[in-house]
């Protein structure tokens, strides 16, 4: 393998892993970061998204429509779960863990009863390119870039819109936010639906690359959890940085020692990282920005007093 193709190989593994971690973790990260609720049914939401997408596409719809059906369908489902169950547990994060675990069991077993042990999958779109001795899936490279695009859309949503401002205010202090006239329950509900839509989107996007079985959610669950834990409370910067760091190790180790070591390395890095920085990347970033701001302010007031 020459240098060029091994660099490409590493880049491919990195982008593939980055896309997977980011896309599968975002829904979980937003629900956790904004609401403090750990959605153990996240993997099953992804599974549901994959099923809806696959079935819609198999019924003859174009893939892009199937994709929309998958994400919005899971959003709708999440909205119903929120109104029926999660809404009663907004202030009880531990109970919400148990409840969402129950939801996940019902969903995976329900899907098994409903659709059987597996359904025929879709073929991966976009074909492949050949570099050196390997073929690479164009679709997976595309997903890596799509992950960045989704992050940008979410960044704009949270930083530039009124919904974003209100949800960030609610995240920081729900009591103050509602005393200022924000309907915090509605913010939570909408945030939960947004998280569900993103989970559905993850399932929809990865549906053509995986076998569609009722237990497929667990593939996503573990890695998205690790990403969120390393990322910390801020769903945007946290997920981005943690996805980047973990993919760097995952990609590098996968290239040299194979997939298993890549996966193991990712977990070891995550454990070490959390040992050193228990609040994850966002805790680190938050402290740094406040420190820089404070220094800037001190500089200003020193300037004034002189």
């Amino acid at each position: 393998m020459d240098l060029y193709s091994s660099i490409f190989n590493f880049m491919y593994l990195f982008i593939d892993s980055f896309g997977f971690l980011i896309i599968s973790a975002l829904g979980l990260a937003i629900i956790f970061g904004m609401m403090g609720i750990i959605n153990l049914a996240h993997g099953e939401y992804i599974m549901l998204g994959a099923y809806i997408t696959t079935l819609t596409a198999a019924a003859g719809m174009p893939f892009i429509i199937a994709l929309l059906c998958g994400s919005l369908g899971v959003g709708l489902f999440g909205g119903i779960v929120d109104r029926l169950i999660i809404r009663h547990l907004y202030k009880r994060p531990l109970d919400s863990v148990v409840a969402s675990w129950g939801v996940s069991l019902i969903m995976s077993q329900g899907m098994l009863v409903l659709m059987g042990p597996s359904i025929p999958g879709l073929s991966t779109p976009m074909g492949s390119i050949n570099v050196g001795q390997f073929d690479y899936s164009v679709y997976r490279i595309f997903l890596g870039f799509l992950a960045i695009f989704i992050m940008i859309v979410l960044y704009v949503l949270f930083k530039k819109t009124k919904f974003g401002l209100h949800s960030r205010a609610t995240m920081q202090n729900a009591v103050i936010a509602r005393n200022l006239g924000i309907n915090s329950d509605r913010m939570y509900c909408m945030t939960y639906i947004l998280g569900s839509v993103l989970a559905g989107l993850a399932g929809a996007l990865y549906a053509p690359t995986l076998s569609i079985v009722p237990t497929m959610g667990s593939n996503f669950m573990m890695l998205s959890f690790v990403t969120v834990v390393v990322g910390g409370a801020d769903p945007m910067t946290g997920t981005l940085l943690s996805g980047g760091l973990l993919s760097l190790f995952n990609g590098g180790l996968s290239m040299i020692f194979g997939t298993l070591m890549g996966r193991l390395g990712l977990l070891v890095v995550a454990i070490l990282f959390i040992r050193v920085l228990p609040e994850g990347f966002s805790g680190l970033v938050e402290r740094q920005t406040l420190r820089v701001n404070r220094k800037k302010q001190e500089a200003i007031s020193n300037g004034e007093s002189n």
Binding site: R168, A169, Q172, N173, A177, N179, L180, G181, N293, Q297
Partner: protein
């Protein structure tokens, strides 16, 4: 403007307020004073809707809002400034202000009000892109007041604005309270330990004790240090 009738409220089975009756007229500035732990802050939290009412009623701007949620009361024009100022530390000064526009359901006139509060608090304009978490106690107090003003409230509930703020800023807060009352016709209810601030601004004060309104003081009585000392001494 605001009226409570036999208001009883508290946490779980413990009733902190034991039947509070009081009223504030339009454009009045009224203080609630009392010793520690007699229910002053609980009264404020009950008025905005954070502590549930168990019996009695709250009437605000001619509407019974005993059963309304906190955000609904805020949207009617009730601006609550909590103890410790309650700014959002990771939002910038400007973002903090923008959150305040939900009060009174007012969405159109934000720009005008933004200029108004920057006029009142030029310091906040200098700092508008800075995160609120990096500011001093006094600046946070200013921000918490400005944030309420953006929403054009008809009533402001102040819960100990002097807390964690240096004395010269407390006096400044007093001036601002008088100014917004005079300029904008906002009614103000103030809970305060700092008797200097109470004397500076209030026309009338209620002394709260054991969850009840024990005394009503007029301006002369508030300014009489002997009276206030007697009522507040432990």
């Amino acid at each position: 403007m605001l009226k409570t009738v036999k208001l009883r409220a508290g946490y779980g089975k413990v009733m902190i307020l034991q039947g509070v009756d009081f009223h504030i007229g339009k454009k009045e500035i009224i203080s609630i004073i009392g010793r520690n732990g007699v229910g002053k802050s609980t009264l404020m939290k009950t008025l905005i809707g954070e502590v549930p009412v168990s019996s009695g009623s709250i009437e605000f701007a001619g509407k019974d809002c005993t059963k309304l949620k906190a955000y609904e009361r805020a949207q009617l024009g009730m601006g609550y400034i909590p103890q410790g100022h309650g700014v959002f530390p990771l939002l910038t000064v400007e973002e903090n202000l923008l959150v305040g526009q939900c009060i009174n359901g007012n969405k159109q006139t934000t720009k005008k009000h933004m200029e108004l509060v920057y006029d009142y608090f030029p310091r906040l304009k200098e700092r508008r892109t800075q995160r609120a978490g990096t500011m001093s106690g006094g600046e946070r107090a200013m921000l918490s007041i400005a944030r309420i003003l953006i929403g054009e409230p008809s009533l402001i509930l102040f819960d100990e604005p002097s807390e964690g703020v240096q004395p010269n800023i407390v006096e400044l807060i007093g001036e601002i309270i008088l100014k917004i009352n005079a300029d904008l016709g906002v009614t103000i209810l103030l809970v305060e330990q700092n008797i200097g601030l109470v004397q500076q601004v209030s026309e009338k004060a209620y002394v709260i004790d054991k969850g009840l309104i024990a005394h009503e003081l007029d301006k002369a009585m508030i300014n009489d240090n002997e009276t206030t000392k007697r009522l507040l001494a432990v």
